[in-house]
């Protein structure tokens, strides 16, 4: 006779089962709790991994630009004629008396006196007052010999340039690919003087000038410490500029002062290398090269150097992980032949390494927690089954086959898994949301695809634990059990 087909018997068995389950609520509750916890931890980890990754890549943006667009190897390389930048007669230094005690560098140092920071008109060692000087360091030597020392340096700093027209392609690319900041820059060497000139202090300094959008470079480098966050917009009679901390301390200038800059690298026919003035908006401290640099708007530097429409390079900041950044860079370099687009390896690849560590840690913890939960489930379900030995014995005595009994066990396991998984998923996601907001300050999107995954996994675990019971169930002999042994 087909016992399985008998609906009455099946219903009877189910009621018997349900009675057993509802009596032993504590154990079922424990199994459910452990399943819930496992599902909660898993979904929390899944959600947090996405949030952590996003936050990490966000944090790495604080390092600044992570890719550079520079002239390609075939770009026109224009060595700067050194003679143009000779400021003969302009500085009037020959008229000024030489004040060695005002020169840079305290006397106890054996290094050569800094370039251009003394106002001695000539480079003869006679006025060195015991300090060693070299001809390479004095820029205002009327013979121009000093300039030969500068020639290679100046030439290299502002050597190869690109046409600013490529920016239209770059901006278009940035618009399509979200999360990309673009910053064109021009480098040059300028001579800075405070206006009005301060007595008893170095007359001028030669520094690298960076022509770029001041507000944008500030945004791109949140790690830079700026003395005063000034509003860069608004019309002002003079353009705004910023200097590094070393320059500010050397010239004793601060925000609000006016400085005069004059290019030392310029093409012939520049806007009369007379230079221009600008107002100091802030002083930047970084601990790196920027402390020795001056920043001013790109157009100002271009017109001062007579290099309208030229840029030295473009700094890019791309959001995303290592793979995405590499892909974007590859696409951009295909769109712009003749220029060289490269990731700044130390930022892009160290980010990859750190994310790798975090991913590995999360995976290890997840798998360990799953193992723990599996053990827990097995133990609990074994205990449950042992408790219900008598009920199983009764069912078997009434003619139930092992398969029927097992199906009930498995159904129970699956049900526990489903319920535990769903509830655990919501608990875990809620938990993850709170953590993400508190820890990372990001709002997570609910990972809905994780729900069926977590439920399925929970059910699988419960079923797996139930499988252990097969042997147990098989071993239960109704006669023995019902007798009470």
């Amino acid at each position: 006779m087909n016992q399985l087909a008998d609906p009455n018997r099946r219903w009877f068995f189910f009621r018997l089962w349900w009675g057993a389950v509802s009596v032993k609520r504590a154990q079922a509750g424990l199994a459910l709790l452990s399943l819930m916890l496992g599902a909660a931890v898993m979904s929390m980890l899944l959600n947090l991994y996405g949030g952590a990754r996003r936050k990490m890549t966000q944090e790495f943006r604080a390092y600044g630009a992570n890719a550079v667009l520079a002239p390609g190897p075939t770009a026109s390389f224009t060595p700067t004629p050194a003679s143009v930048s000779s400021p003969t007669g302009r500085m009037k230094t020959a008229d000024k008396p030489c004040h060695p005690e005002r020169s840079e560098g305290s006397p106890q140092f054996s290094g050569a006196v800094g370039a251009g920071s003394n106002n001695c008109g000539d480079s003869s060692p006679a006025n060195s007052d015991g300090l060693r000087m070299t001809s390479s360091t004095s820029l205002d030597s009327p013979t121009g010999e000093g300039n030969q020392g500068w020639g290679p340096a100046e030439g290299t700093v502002a050597s190869s340039t690109m046409d600013q027209a490529i920016m239209s392609v770059v901006y278009e690319f940035a618009r399509k690919r979200r999360g990309m900041t673009v910053l064109p820059m021009l480098y040059g060497v300028v001579r800075l003087q405070p206006i009005p000139p301060k007595p008893r202090l170095p007359d001028f300094v030669n520094v690298v000038a960076v022509g770029t959008d001041l507000a944008a470079i500030s945004r791109m480098n949140p790690g830079w410490r700026e003395s005063q966050a000034m509003d860069y917009s608004g019309p002002l009679s003079l353009p705004l500029c910023a200097v590094g901390a070393h320059i500010a301390s050397r010239l004793h200038v601060a925000s609000g002062d006016t400085i005069h800059f004059q290019p030392l690298t310029s093409s012939a026919g520049a806007r009369a290398a007379a230079g221009a003035e600008c107002r100091l908006a802030s002083v930047i401290t970084t601990g790196a090269s920027e402390d020795d640099q001056m920043f001013l708007p790109l157009e100002e530097l271009q017109s001062a150097m007579g290099m309208a429409g030229k840029i030295s390079l473009v700094q890019l900041r791309l959001d995303g992980e290592t793979g995405e950044i590499e892909r974007s860079i590859h696409e951009l370099s295909k769109a712009l032949p003749g220029v060289d687009v490269r990731p700044i390896r130390q930022i892009v690849y160290s980010e990859g390494r750190v994310l790798g560590v975090i991913r590995w840690f999360l995976l290890s913890v997840t798998s360990l927690v799953l193992v723990i939960i599996l053990i827990c489930l097995t133990a609990t379900m074994t205990a449950m089954a042992l408790e219900r030995r008598k009920d199983v014995g009764v069912m078997k005595a009434l003619g139930g086959s092992e398969l029927q009994v097992m199906r009930l066990f498995l159904a129970e396991g699956a049900a526990l898994g489903l319920v535990g998984g769903c509830v655990g998923f919501f608990v875990g996601s809620f938990w993850a949301f709170g953590l993400a907001r508190h820890l990372f300050g990001v709002t997570l999107n609910v990972i809905w695809w994780a729900l069926p995954l977590v439920c399925a996994l929970a059910s699988l675990m419960a079923l797996g634990a139930a499988m252990f019971l097969v042997r147990l169930v098989r071993a239960i002999q109704p006669a023995v059990v019902l007798k009470g042994e």
């Binding site: 916890l37 070299t134 290679p152 053990i375």
Partner: protein, 438 residues
């Protein structure tokens, strides 16, 4: 008397006891692994963050302004001030010397390479410093910047003619690994004779060098030529001098205490600040060791790292707690399962006249012993597992974390006791006759 009962009880039903111990061991082992990993992952992340490069820079205090872009200094080699090269050994003698991962000096010499003006960067590629008789410290550019890529091979510091050419410059000059380049140095920038009162000898040197590899960094170095420090010093006539040193140190993220004004701290607080590896305190110690230098943290790097480490630390802590909670739950449930079988035994005890307290004491002691044994075994197993995992992923083993041992033991004890107490409580309430009848 109690001890004798306890021992005899433990000796009985050994298989059941062993199963219980195994259950506790597994649960605690998993918890211990997670705990050890989370203690160490913060350190691992810190080391991986150091693959970025330097976070402290050393420049001469009395230097003139650098004409530098992206760290490369374009000034004539002789201008400005220098740091003596032999002072660098002092970096490995400061209080936080073990936190110094790597450091490298730089000397910049403007020159012409195959006719192209560029800057020679003299540096250490892979140098072994003899700190004292027993300790050698490997440092250099390769260790400082592990993310930098060299197509070819790194030059040898002792080989005066082997150089690295930056990728962009190499493409422009059309050279690669194995090519020969000529470097000519202008009179004003190299080959200077430093004699007061005489005009510098006008000398221009041209030498041939071998390109050992092409360097790709993405930064300013892609347009330069990197030569061994000794070569640059010789070319510029600046023996034993360096312009700048970059240091990579493992630091603790800066908090409010780390940012305090040193002049306002008491002697004790200053001691505490000194003994905490903030980037600023390590820089302070380096400054004390090399007084003629100006030592500063590179703020952007140090600040960003600090933020990353802080957030990750909290995350790891939470995960470890979650794992420990689930381990606790697992063990408790297993104890629950095994404790249910003891009901008959409890009934027997009570019928023989034992008080509730006595029975509870005995059973809880038993559970406690099992818990301790399981906890110890779990800690050992967990340590081994964590060690193997770390070795597999990082290639670097994890250290022994003795702090986990008391935590594991405490957790095991708490959980086994809790797991036994619940069914014990219920069983004690039922009258012995009922239990014995079943």
């Amino acid at each position: 008397m109690l001890v004798r009962i306890l021992l005899e009880s433990l000796a009985r039903r050994r298989r059941r006891k062993l199963l219980s111990i195994l259950a506790v061991t597994l649960g605690i082992a998993a918890a211990a692994t997670v705990g050890i990993l989370s203690l160490d992952v913060g350190d691992k992340i810190s080391r991986e963050l150091r693959s970025y490069g330097a976070n402290i820079s050393i420049t001469p205090a009395a230097d003139s302004l650098a004409v530098s872009v992206g760290g490369v200094d374009y000034r004539p080699a002789g201008s400005g001030a220098f740091i003596p090269e032999d002072e660098l050994l002092k970096l490995k003698k400061i209080f936080w010397r073990n936190n110094i991962v790597a450091f490298t000096p730089f000397l910049y010499v403007p020159a012409k390479v195959d006719g192209q003006p560029t800057v020679l960067v003299g540096t250490w590629f892979e140098k072994l410093l003899q700190v004292d008789k027993s300790e050698a410290f490997a440092t250099g550019l390769k260790k400082l910047h592990p993310t930098w890529n060299v197509i070819g091979e790194w030059p040898d510091d002792s080989d005066a003619s082997g150089v690295l050419v930056g990728r962009r410059l190499a493409a422009r000059l059309m050279v690669g690994a194995g090519s020969t380049i000529t470097i000519s140095c202008r009179s004003a920038t190299c080959g200077r004779t430093i004699l007061a009162g005489t005009t510098p000898a006008l000398r221009s040197t041209t030498d041939a060098f071998q390109v050992r590899g092409v360097l790709e960094t993405g930064g300013e170095e892609d347009g330069q030529v990197l030569v061994p420090l000794a070569t640059a010093q010789h070319l510029a006539g600046l023996a034993g001098k360096v312009r700048r040193v970059e240091v990579s140190a493992l630091t603790k993220p800066e908090d409010a205490f780390g940012r305090s004004d040193l002049s306002k701290l008491t002697a004790e607080e200053l001691d505490r600040w000194y003994c905490t590896p903030y980037a600023s305190s390590i820089a302070y110690q380096i400054q004390q060791a090399i007084p003629e230098a100006e030592v500063k943290p590179i703020y952007q790097v140090a600040d960003t790292e600090g933020k990353i480490l802080n957030r990750m630390g909290i995350l790891m802590g939470m995960l470890a707690l979650a794992a420990l909670a689930s381990a606790g739950l697992a063990v408790a449930s297993m104890m629950l399962a095994t404790a249910l079988e003891r009901r008959a035994e409890i009934g027997l005890f009570k019928s023989l006249g034992a008080t509730d307290a006595r029975v509870a004491t005995l059973l809880l002691l038993e559970a406690g012993v099992l818990g301790l044994v399981g906890g110890l075994a779990g800690y050992l197993l967990g340590s081994v597992l964590a060690w193997r995992l770390a070795l597999a992923v990082f290639g670097v083993p994890i250290g022994i974390h003795l702090v986990m041992l008391p935590i594991c033991l405490a957790l095991a004890l708490a959980v086994t006791l809790a797991g036994s107490a619940l069914p014990l409580g219920r069983a004690l309430r039922v009258s012995p006759a009922v239990v014995l009848r079943d």
